[in-house]
């Protein structure tokens, strides 16, 4: 078991959630509550990373931020390191790839709140922020938690884009999924097997968690 790789994977998952959750809550709520022209287009755009091959995302990130691009060179002279082949680059790739996993469950969570409950909250004298914090978030909470769990699990499973943008650097961009590939190439099937089993267990646990969560939502609604 490559503990460093597990650490990188977990940090990548946690970091992606930290970046995307606030965005997801803001944007998911916006999509749930407001109607506007072009909304269908925006919702489709949010879904694009789902159907995009990870290699496409990797390709564009490398082309845009790699050392051969002007943007990449500027970044490198500022920070000393390009965005690709760094953990931060992985975070960026992961954040983009996970947008649908964050936005959609949260959107569903807020959509499930009847609009007259929100109106009633206003008529109870709650300011918009109080409405959000005391009424909407507690009711949308299962959606928010589902988004976090799904994003975390999906990040753990990312491979193509991580390998392309990250480059398998130990302790920096070698996640658990990449470590499996790496160990197999080194003819170390035993290690690869342990790590593969770990990821499998995490995937199953995630599914169980999200299923339980959606059942709990049903119970509370009564």
């Amino acid at each position: 078991m490559d503990w460093t790789a597990l650490r990188v994977s977990l940090w990548l998952g946690a970091g992606t959630i930290a970046i995307l959750l606030p965005f997801g809550i803001w944007f998911g709520r916006l999509l749930a509550i407001h109607q506007f022209r072009g909304k269908v287009f925006v919702e489709a755009l949010v879904t694009v990373p789902l159907v995009l091959p990870p290699t496409v995302l990797g390709f564009y990130l490398l082309v845009m931020f790699g050392a051969r691009s002007p943007l990449g060179q500027a970044f490198q002279s500022l920070v000393g390191q390009t965005l690709p082949f760094s953990f931060e680059g992985l975070l960026l790739a992961s954040a983009i790839a996970n947008i649908p996993f964050v936005v959609q469950p949260i959107q569903r969570g807020f959509e499930a709140i009847p609009s007259d409950v929100r109106d009633a909250a206003a008529c109870c004298g709650l300011t918009p922020w109080q409405r959000f914090a005391r009424i909407e978030v507690p009711l949308a909470w299962p959606g928010i938690l589902t988004a976090a769990i799904l994003t975390f699990a999906h990040t753990l499973g990312e491979f193509g884009v991580v390998l392309m943008v990250g480059g398998n650097l130990p302790g920096e961009t070698r996640t658990l999924s990449v470590a499996i590939y790496d160990r197999m190439q080194a003819f170390d099937d035993r290690s690869a097997g342990v790590m593969a089993a770990t990821l499998l267990v995490i995937a199953v646990a995630t599914l169980m968690l999200t299923t339980t969560l959606s059942r709990r939502v049903g119970v509370r609604r009564g």
Binding site: A14, S86, L145, P170, Q185, A186, F187
Partner: protein, 258 residues
């Protein structure tokens, strides 16, 4: 209960994060061609034992690693499987100098136990299997990114087998992956690196025959220090040209320059 799950997730992440060691000064990263899998790992361990410092090695196909270096990958030393890729980097101004040839590799034809293929240096066994019509998959490294793959292609062409075997070829992204295909019974065999089949556990998996050097361009393997190389990387570069390293390389089937 929901809150508890959230807290647990965060706590686990934090614990593993801090528990798995704070990364202070991370050792320099060395990019190496996949054929060096066993040899370089041993040399790096020896280096650590002798000098007390370590390097991290990342294995891959020479072409892929070259591409990554061009895109900004923070490697400090690059051990390629040929000379062309390092020269490309030197020309682009990414290296300290033109580097040195550290080893000469050899190609072998490998057949796993139970395969219909019989191995011999002239590839007659392969020709027979192809002619019999019973040929299954045959593994080589991708000639576009792996010099060993390119060498494999020349060998097959020289023996007049390239066109016939082409539809059966399975290409590994690296020579190590090709070796995996060749040894796991997914293929009748393959053209793989000598250094890999000398690795642990390979002897029992099948049989091999070394391909004559004259059948392909010599696999002169060059290494270069990248511009950002630090003291440790430079030390390692020198160490690789020293006697202990050379002995290990020879042990793994490489020719070494005098």
């Amino acid at each position: 209960m929901l809150r508890r799950i959230g807290v647990l997730l965060v706590a686990t992440t934090v614990v593993i994060g801090t528990g798995a060691g704070v990364s202070a000064q991370r050792p320099p990263t060395v990019a190496a061609a996949a054929n060096l899998n066993f040899a370089l790992t041993e040399i790096a361990n020896q280096f650590k034992a002798d000098r007390g410092t370590s390097v991290e090695v990342v294995f891959g196909a020479s072409g892929t690693l070259t591409r990554q270096i061009q895109d900004g990958a923070p490697f400090e030393l690059f051990l390629a499987a040929d000379e062309e890729f390092p020269n490309q980097l030197a020309k682009a101004g990414l290296t300290r100098d033109a580097g040195v040839v550290y080893a000469v590799g050899r190609l072998v034809i490998f057949a796993p136990n139970g395969s219909a293929l019989t191995v011999d240096e002239r590839l007659n066994g392969l020709a027979r299997v192809i002619k019999s019509g019973k040929a299954g998959r045959f593994a080589i490294a991708n000639p576009d990114v792996a010099p060993y793959g390119k060498a494999a292609e020349s060998v097959l062409r020289k023996r007049g087998l390239w066109d016939a075997i082409r539809p059966q070829l399975v290409l590994g992204d690296t020579i190590a992956q090709a070796a995996q295909f060749a040894t796991t019974g997914n293929a009748i065999g393959g053209l793989v690196a000598y250094s890999l089949v000398l690795g642990p556990g390979f002897a029992e998996r099948g049989k091999y025959a070394v391909i004559p050097e004259t059948d392909h361009q010599p696999l002169r393997q060059r290494m270069v220090l990248l511009k950002r190389a630090g003291a440790t990387a430079t030390q390692f570069y020198d160490y690789l040209q020293g006697t202990s390293a050379k002995a290990i390389l020879r042990k793994h089937g490489y020719g070494v320059p005098q």
